[in-house]
């Protein structure tokens, strides 16, 4: 299999080169400012730290504000053994430390190797002042937002006056709003009732945690009943908003889980739904797609961002070819005997698993996530979505509609539908049903490979990857109604969301059990799934 992948790589080589030229070099480890910063911060000389702060100030680096914040919170540690800078939450054995430049996770083995980058008071004040001055006047809206957020609730009166000053000249609506909140946090503690009232109104519209804290504190301290009532009302409003966004987040998590399910199941929807073939090796075809991703990353270690894109067609081809081999070698002798197909393909799945164990070792492989896939999209302080999940949802929909187009709009699709509805008639009309079977199975298997690429980004790549998804995939296809790929989409998304809704109160395992039980009961009620094929042809 390795050689086949290499072969494929040659074919894709040209494409790879082309894309590499376009890809901008963007990695923290190449950044001269951050490299310099690391040397200065790991130094034991106090002066160097002051220099580091100055360096950051002058460079106007886009991460400057995050770094200031982390420095103030004392999250920077340096490792005495390798003189590298790490971000550490708790310096205890077994906790993880994030390498500052590479962003790789390291497990802390000896906590005493890690030393906090400590600042003195002068340096702290320096940072605060820099943040306030440069931050509030920076060109980037983002940085101004960050600055305000950092200064919010700072008891230093100087900080507040700076914000007040900046507020009058601020033009960006969002930043202005945030500044208003920062000011309101202070105003609410003053004694002017009218101003307090306004401040409470301002705070009530904000989802900032500090605004909520301020309101909570106000409620517990104030003697003014009417203001208290107003603040409480505001708090209830905030709670409701938070609840709403939490719900939105659950749905988002559910959709992303659903996308994974749909991706895993959609290849099966073709082979099982359209062709009536029970392919128990479907999970292993997904696994092969994931391993293809791994191999391609090994082949192009300097272009991780690109490797995932290359892996998509590669996995499609590799899994598709394996699928075609399975169809030609075994399944075509077993058409019309679904239960036997089930057993034979299960045998194949065992062979494929063991083959992967023998070639790649039984241990899990790490497939790296490209930098463009990590990150967050922040809508407001309580609702942010992770980009990799978003990409999976988009990817799932792309694959789904591409497949729908293939089935509905291409000659192959027409032939597939013809053969699946009436094999004998299709043959009589000149459709080469054997070839169609082969292509259909190849298509379904190739899509499984693509699913493998997506799964390699969110789960461990190992020999058991396929087994973990095969039952779920069958559930999705059966729940959606066999022979209906829209059904698969709806079923996958429904199960994903249902799972995530139940998880908070039932726990992940119990939620899964409940979903399984639900499907078992559902099939009793509607044996042909959500969207059954009806009519004489479907009765069998």
């Amino acid at each position: 299999m390795k050689s086949r992948i290499k072969h494929l790589m040659c074919a894709l080589g040209l494409l790879v080169l082309l894309l590499c030229a376009v890809q901008p070099a963007f990695a923290k480890s190449d950044d001269p400012v951050l490299l310099e910063l690391q040397t200065l911060l790991v130094s034991s000389n106090n002066q160097d730290r002051t220099k580091a702060i100055e360096l950051l100030t002058q460079s106007q680096h886009e991460l400057a504000f995050d770094i200031y914040g982390l420095l103030l919170e004392g999250k920077f540690f340096f490792n005495r053994t390798d003189n590298q800078l790490y971000l550490v939450d708790r310096a205890e054995a077994g906790q993880s430390a994030l390498h500052f430049l590479d962003e790789r996770d390291v497990t802390i083995e000896r906590p005493r190797d890690f030393r906090r980058v400590a600042l003195n008071n002068a340096q702290r004040t320096q940072i605060r002042r820099v943040m306030a001055q440069t931050g509030l006047t920076a060109d980037s809206n983002k940085i101004r937002m960050k600055a305000v957020r950092q200064m919010m609730g700072d008891p230093d009166p100087e900080a507040l006056s700076l914000i007040r000053a900046a507020y009058t000249s601020e033009t960006n609506g969002k930043v202005r709003e945030l500044m208003a909140v920062a000011i309101a946090i202070d105003t609410v503690t003053q004694t002017d009732e009218a101003a307090q009232r306004d401040a409470i109104d301002t705070l009530s519209t904000s989802l900032e945690p500090r605004a909520r804290n301020a309101l909570n504190q106000f409620v517990s301290q104030t003697d003014n009943a009417s203001l208290k009532e107003l603040a409480e009302k505001g708090l209830i409003g905030i709670e409701q908003k938070i609840k709403f966004y939490k719900g939105l987040e659950t749905v988002y998590f559910g959709l992303s889980l659903g996308s994974v399910l749909v991706l895993a199941a959609i290849g099966l929807a073709i082979t099982f739904g359209v062709m009536g073939v029970i392919n128990m090796a479907h999970g292993e075809l997904i696994m092969i797609g994931a391993y293809t991703t791994f191999v391609i990353q090994q082949l192009m270690p300097n272009h991780i961002g690109l490797s995932v894109l290359v892996a998509i067609p590669a996995a499609f081809v590799v899994s598709g070819l394996v699928g075609i081999a399975i169809e030609r070698g075994v399944i075509r002798f077993l058409y019309g005997r679904p239960l036997e197909t089930l057993l034979a393909t299960f045998g194949i799945s065992l062979v494929l698993q063991q083959a992967v164990r023998t070639i790649f070792s039984p241990l899990n492989k790490t497939v790296e996530t490209p930098s463009w896939m990590s990150g967050m999209l922040e809508f407001n302080p309580v609702f942010a979505i992770t980009l990799n999940r978003l990409y999976i949802i988009i990817f799932c929909l792309l694959v789904f509609f591409a497949l729908l187009m293939i089935l509905k709009r291409t000659a192959l699709g027409l032939q597939v539908r013809a053969v699946s509805q009436n094999r004998a008639m299709a043959r009589a009309m000149g459709v080469r049903s054997e070839r169609v079977d082969m292509m259909t199975f190849g298509l379904g298997s190739g899509v499984a490979g693509i699913a493998g690429v997506a799964l390699s980004q969110i789960t461990n790549v190992g020999p058991n990857l396929g087994q973990a998804y095969i039952i779920d995939s069958f559930m999705v296809v059966v729940f959606g109604g066999v022979g209906n790929i829209w059904g698969t989409l709806v079923a996958g998304m429904t199960l994903g969301v249902a799972n995530k809704i139940m998880e908070p109160w039932a726990g992940a395992v119990l939620a899964k059990i409940l979903v399984l039980v639900f499907i078992i009961l559902f099939i009793q009620k509607k044996p042909r799934g959500l969207f059954p094929q009806r009519g004489r042809a479907a009765e069998g």
Binding site: I278, M280, V330, F333, L334, P338, L339, E340, T341, L342, L343, A344, F346, G347, I348, S349, L350, V351, Q353, Q354, A355, R357, T358, Q467, I471, F474, M475, V478, V509, L510, K512, I513, L516, V517, I519, I520, L521, I523, Q524, K525, P527
Partner: protein, 361 residues
């Protein structure tokens, strides 16, 4: 005389029962010989053989529903495991104060989880007779409820296979949970004795072997009795032309339900005999993989023959033991290849190679 009628025309069954009778007499005798004697069978081997026999009984139960009713069950491991868990609970209760924590009543894992009393469903399981009833009742009840739902709504074919798989998968996940009170991940183990006999003792192991052989023989005769009766013919009729049977007035769902339940009970007994011989029961017994493997034993031996299922189970499990000690990496390749080759080239299994073309089913 009635017994003879059951196997009069069943050459394979005659051979099987004869071999079992010989084993019941010969194995304990050969085991009692001095260790350096040429014909001595080590106690370890006796226990291994006993384990194989329980798996053969399990295969028999699968053949009853797959071979004769056409229900490809991918979840029979669940009934086996449930029987095994009931036995495991009984054996746990027998440990008494000899556990690591020395608690007079609670098994170690419950002490570890800081539970202060036994959950209600552990009540009474220190009594063997009660455990024996539950060994048959629990798998039977689950099969009955599951079957009543599934067969009434006419879930069949592949769909049924998939929901049986979902059933055992759901049970596996459930039994992995510590909160269930069945030892979670680790399951039930460290058993000491059964009915007062130490499980480590040679005599107990031989006794369990004999019990397994007797259970297999009884299971065979019961299955045979069902198959020989008119009900057996109805089963075959349902398997081959379900709607025809319905239009003749047969309540197909009830036929399926009762045979499925009987089969689950047999599987439960097999599980109960398996656990004391291997000394552990854990949630992996519920894994869908195990259940599919059972089907392969039956396929290899030959569907719808009963003795074929026994032969297949013995053959594959012997091969498994051999491979996993001699060539562990090759085992899954071999098992996978057997799956494929048997379905492609030996649809009637080993039994089909030897069987004359018989008119009876």
């Amino acid at each position: 005389m009635m017994l003879w009628n059951l196997i009069k025309e069943d050459r394979g069954g005659q051979i099987l029962l004869l071999l079992l009778a010989i084993a019941i007499i010969a194995v304990p005798m050969l085991n009692a010989l001095p260790p350096d004697h040429a014909l001595h069978i080590p106690t370890y081997t006796v226990a291994l053989l006993g384990k194989y026999l329980t798996l053969a009984l399990l295969a028999l139960s699968v053949d009853l529903v797959w071979g004769y009713l056409g229900i490809l069950t991918l979840g029979h491991g669940a009934f086996f495991a449930l029987g095994g868990y009931v036995m495991g609970m009984y054996l746990m209760r027998q440990i008494g104060e000899r556990g690591v924590y020395g608690h007079p009543e609670l098994p170690d894992f419950m002490v570890f989880l800081n539970w202060d009393s036994l959950p209600w469903y552990w009540t009474g399981l220190d009594q063997f007779w009660f455990a024996a009833i539950l060994i048959i009742l629990v798998p039977g009840l689950l099969a009955f409820i599951f079957g009543a739902l599934a067969f009434r709504s006419r879930v069949s074919g592949v769909y049924l296979s998939i929901i049986t798989q979902a059933l055992t998968f759901a049970l596996m996940l459930a039994f992995f949970r510590n909160e269930m009170g069945f030892g979670g991940n680790n399951g039930l183990t460290d058993f000491k004795d059964i009915l007062g006999f130490s499980l480590q003792a040679r005599e107990t192991k031989v006794g369990l072997f004999v019990a397994s052989a007797v259970a297999l023989a009884l299971g065979y005769l019961i299955s045979r009795a069902v198959i020989q009766s008119r009900l057996g013919k109805v089963c075959v009729a349902v398997r081959d032309a379900e709607s025809r049977a319905r239009f003749l007035g047969y309540r197909v769902e009830n036929v399926k339900l009762w045979v499925f339940t009987l089969s689950a009970m047999i599987a439960g007994v097999a599980g109960a005999l398996y656990v004391p011989q291997v000394g552990i029961i854990n949630p992996n017994e519920f894994s869908p993989l195990n259940s599919i493997e059972i089907v392969v034993w039956v396929a290899v031996g030959g569907r719808a023959t009963l003795y074929g299922a026994v032969a297949g189970a013995l053959f594959i499990n012997y091969a498994k033991t051999w491979f996993t000690t001699e060539l562990p990496d090759v085992w899954l390749f071999a098992l996978g290849a057997i799956f494929v080759l048997v379905t492609l080239f030996l649809p009637k299994g080993i039994a089909g190679l030897f069987r004359r073309k018989e008119a009876s089913a």
